[in-house]
């Protein structure tokens, strides 16, 4: 016990720094875990307040989970969610690492800052605004793309009712928005790599490409693995704004734009069954949790140092 307090005393500065985050996690991530039982209840209001409502609502077992797996859409939404996220993770990884390396090679620091800020900016835009950006390109009668097609004498495309273009559009828009942020994370750790390694490589006559392959990428791999593991944990969560706002909720595109989150929203927005939406969230977290454990296990087997835990 004494050593425990001693330990706290010794690390008090560090612990103080962690405190705000820990409090935040306690209130917004751990405390709400109790509410998970709503997933197994038919939630009904009780005049005594929230806790009484939870306790007095009727148990319904797995009933609330059924809607996710019944009907013909279950396969479509699972496939869309998984495939899009896999595409985002891998294409995003390659592009943001490439971008980070390019930025780190820029000599002019002002230009590097300008590019960096420019790429970072879309990250701060709301999906509603991004949705309107996309609309200004893709609108049927006033969109820029259709104007350009018109100059070349090609026929106008009904972008918002033809599903075949949308996997590309969605991946493009998502990457445009997220790459800047991710590349900054990678850039930060590239800048932290010991300069003497590069100097030694240069003395040995290594080309830029060889330096990148043999120094930058291996030194980056721990953070690449961590970022990827974190992304894998959220593979069953789709970015609602991307899949709802950008295609303007167009029904004819659902075969390629409907994902778990939009399905849950559309299915429950009128009935407002809290139990069913909690069930969907629990299902997503459990699958995400399992995936993180499994992929971390695989990483551990390959390289013990790089694993998260």
């Amino acid at each position: 016990m004494a050593s425990f307090f001693k330990n706290i005393l010794k690390n008090k500065v560090m612990l103080l720094m962690v405190l705000p985050g820990a409090i935040w996690f306690f209130f917004f991530s751990y405390l709400p875990l109790v509410g998970t039982i709503v997933a197994f209840k038919q939630y009904r209001f009780n005049r005594e307040g929230f806790w009484a409502s939870i306790v007095k609502s009727e148990w319904v077992g797995w009933q609330n989970f059924k809607f996710l797996f019944s009907g013909t859409d279950a396969w479509v939404i699972t496939r869309n969610t998984l495939l899009y996220n896999i595409a985002f993770i891998f294409i995003g990884l390659v592009l943001s690492v490439a971008m980070a390396i390019l930025l780190s090679q820029l000599v002019g620091k002002t230009m590097a800052k300008i590019y960096q800020t420019g790429m970072f900016l879309p990250y701060f835009l709301s999906w509603v605004i991004v949705g309107y950006f996309a609309f200004s390109f893709l609108s049927m009668d006033r969109g820029m793309l259709n104007q350009i097609l018109g100059w070349f004498g090609m026929e106008k495309v009904q972008w918002y009712s033809d599903p075949k273009y949308w996997p590309y559009i969605l991946i493009f828009v998502s990457l445009w928005k997220s790459i800047g942020y991710n590349s900054v994370v990678y850039l930060a750790s590239i800048l932290g790599i010991d300069k003497s390694l590069y100097e030694a490589a240069m003395i040995d006559g290594a080309s830029k490409w060889q330096q990148i392959r043999s120094i930058t990428i291996p030194m980056l791999s721990p953070i690449i693995i961590i970022m990827t593991l974190l992304a894998v944990g959220r593979i069953f969560y789709a970015d609602f704004g991307l899949f709802y706002q950008v295609p303007r909720d167009s029904g004819t595109l659902y075969s390629v734009t409907n994902v778990i989150d939009t399905y849950v929203y559309r299915g429950l927005k009128t009935t407002g069954e809290i139990g069913m939406s909690t069930a969907a969230g629990l299902y997503q977290s459990v699958v995400g949790f399992v995936l993180v454990i499994v992929s971390n296990y695989i990483v551990r087997r390959l390289d013990k140092e790089s694993a998260l835990f």
Partner: protein
């Protein structure tokens, strides 16, 4: 490796810190708790009622409520605190407020915002049958009995509907400038087919005008009443056997969708109608020729005044009293109210006392409005700080008239209400609890097909069979069967 891990943790810490900052910006909590009244119904001390209502929050709400409180304290011993929640946020914020047990006494609910029937069944509202008999006798005499009858859920009243227009009637609205320019006759149109020659004239002569304005919520009118708004289950208005049918399989809807597709292909409908959220920019610019809307007495004047150019309308359907029209604006007493009797007394007074009702609606005389004569008022400059939606605040027929209103405005409303025909399923409210799983799937199919079929964007020859098939796969038949069972039971107990 050790070194890089350390740097990594620094980078991660920064990342996390940034995430905090960003997520902190997102959440804000506008609800402050106010004291829920200290006394428990004793007549000496006034009881404070907390009243949640819909609409853009107004600057002078507290000022006006202070005046209102003075008046109500004298009459029934209550003071009032009003909390307004903006249009778009109302449903969501109220769900949170009710679920978390936020203290409140009176709240606005309707078929459109914070759904009345669903929340009554979930236990959000107090059942009012006894309170209504005890404290609401005046109110019962003041408002059209059809409102109280039509807003019963499973045989009980859970709210006080606002006395206003009772039936809903669809009309074709026309931009009168264009009607006059081409000398068109709008008096003989009624069916969807009958508007074609007009649309054709406009399309040929006015390339910049959208002939038939609509947004993604447009649904062609067919003489059916829906069990749930915009889900394809409906009962024919002149039914005798009360059979619920899939609206997409009815000959009326199939004909209407074919016509809509013809109009879409002819360019009468905007190419992106199926994803358009609102036509308000067309209304502002005046670049539209016609659309369909729901009417009320003197609506043409209202529209013309708000758009700044003349609008005329002509009926597209009969005036029908439906659940949706009856449940358009209701005030309910919260299930967790500490003073249900006082709340009922207040609602009774609000719906019968012109002084109180007009104060809540228009504010303080001399500050927000001035009287022109006994019945007419004029807004003063300050009224911009207290601009309230009249429909959501109780009995409309007690309100003062605007300068341009005819003296018999409310008589016209009463006449309109008296002429409305009851829908066969008026006051039947489907309980979808047993088929919640199927409802979620069916909602998704509806979202997928509805707007593009209804606006004519896709060819019904190809897409209608697809939609019908997908609805069946999602379990529509099971929902219809459940609804039919409930409807038959309701019919038996109401001897229809």
């Amino acid at each position: 490796m050790r070194k890089s891990k350390k740097r990594l943790s620094v980078a991660l810490a920064m990342l996390t810190a940034l995430t905090f900052v960003l997520s902190a910006c997102g959440g804000s909590n506008a609800n402050s708790n106010s004291a829920a009244g200290s006394s428990n119904g004793s007549s000496d001390k006034p009881v404070n009622l907390i009243w949640y209502t819909i609409g853009t929050p107004q600057k002078d709400v507290d000022k006006v409520m202070a005046e209102v409180s003075k008046y109500t304290q004298e009459k029934i011993g209550v003071t009032v605190t009003m909390k307004m929640i903006d249009w778009g946020d109302y449903t969501q914020k109220m769900q949170v407020n009710v679920a978390s047990g936020e203290p409140m006494d009176i709240m606005f609910t309707s078929a459109g915002g914070f759904d009345y029937v669903t929340n009554a069944r979930k236990g959000a509202f107090l059942q009012l049958d006894d309170l209504l008999n005890q404290y609401g006798q005046d109110l019962k005499n003041a408002i059209d009995p059809a409102f109280l009858e039509g807003s019963k859920v499973d045989g009980h009243n859970y709210g006080i509907p606002a006395n206003k227009e009772l039936p809903q009637q669809e009309v074709w609205r026309f931009n009168k400038n264009l009607v006059d320019k081409y000398n068109l006759d709008t008096t003989n149109v009624r069916s969807l087919e009958s508007i074609e020659p007009l649309l054709k004239t406009i399309k040929e002569n006015e390339p910049n005008v959208t002939p038939f304005a609509m947004d993604k919520n447009y649904v062609p009118y067919v003489p059916y009443d829906y069990i749930i708004q915009n889900l394809p289950m409906a009962v024919k208005l002149d039914t005798t056997d009360y059979k619920i049918v899939d609206i997409l399989e009815t000959p009326e809807m199939q004909a209407a969708l074919t016509t809509m597709h013809k109009y879409y292909q002819a360019g009468y409908v905007a190419p992106e109608a199926a994803t358009t959220g609102s036509t308000s920019d067309l209304m502002t610019s005046g670049n539209w020729f016609m659309d369909r809307a729901q009417t009320q007495p003197l609506a043409d004047n209202l529209w013309s005044a708000s758009y700044g150019y003349p609008v005329v309308s002509t009926p597209a359907s009969d005036a029908i009293i439906t659940n949706t029209s009856v449940q358009g604006s209701i005030m309910a007493i919260s299930a967790n109210s500490e003073h249900p009797e006082k709340a009922m007394q207040f609602l009774n007074l609000l719906n019968t006392d012109p002084v109180l009702r007009n104060m809540v609606d228009s504010g303080i005389e001399g500050t927000h409005y001035k009287k022109i004569d006994d019945t007419h008022i004029e807004n003063l400059a300050e009224s911009k700080n207290y601009d309230m939606p009249s429909y959501s605040l109780g009995n409309n027929m007690l309100l003062y008239l605007n300068p341009n209103d005819p003296d018999d405005k409310w008589d016209q409303f009463k006449k309109f209400n008296a002429e409305g025909k009851d829908s066969p399923i008026l006051s039947f409210n489907f309980d979808s609890t047993k088929v919640a799983t199927e409802m979620a799937a069916v909602q998704n199919v509806k979202e997928q097909f509805w707007a593009s079929l209804m606006t004519g964007t896709v060819d019904p020859e190809e897409y209608l069979p697809k939609a019908i098939q997908k609805f069946k796969e999602a379990g529509l038949d099971k929902i219809i069967a459940e609804a039919q069972t409930q409807l038959d039971a309701w019919r038996a107990s109401n001897s229809k």
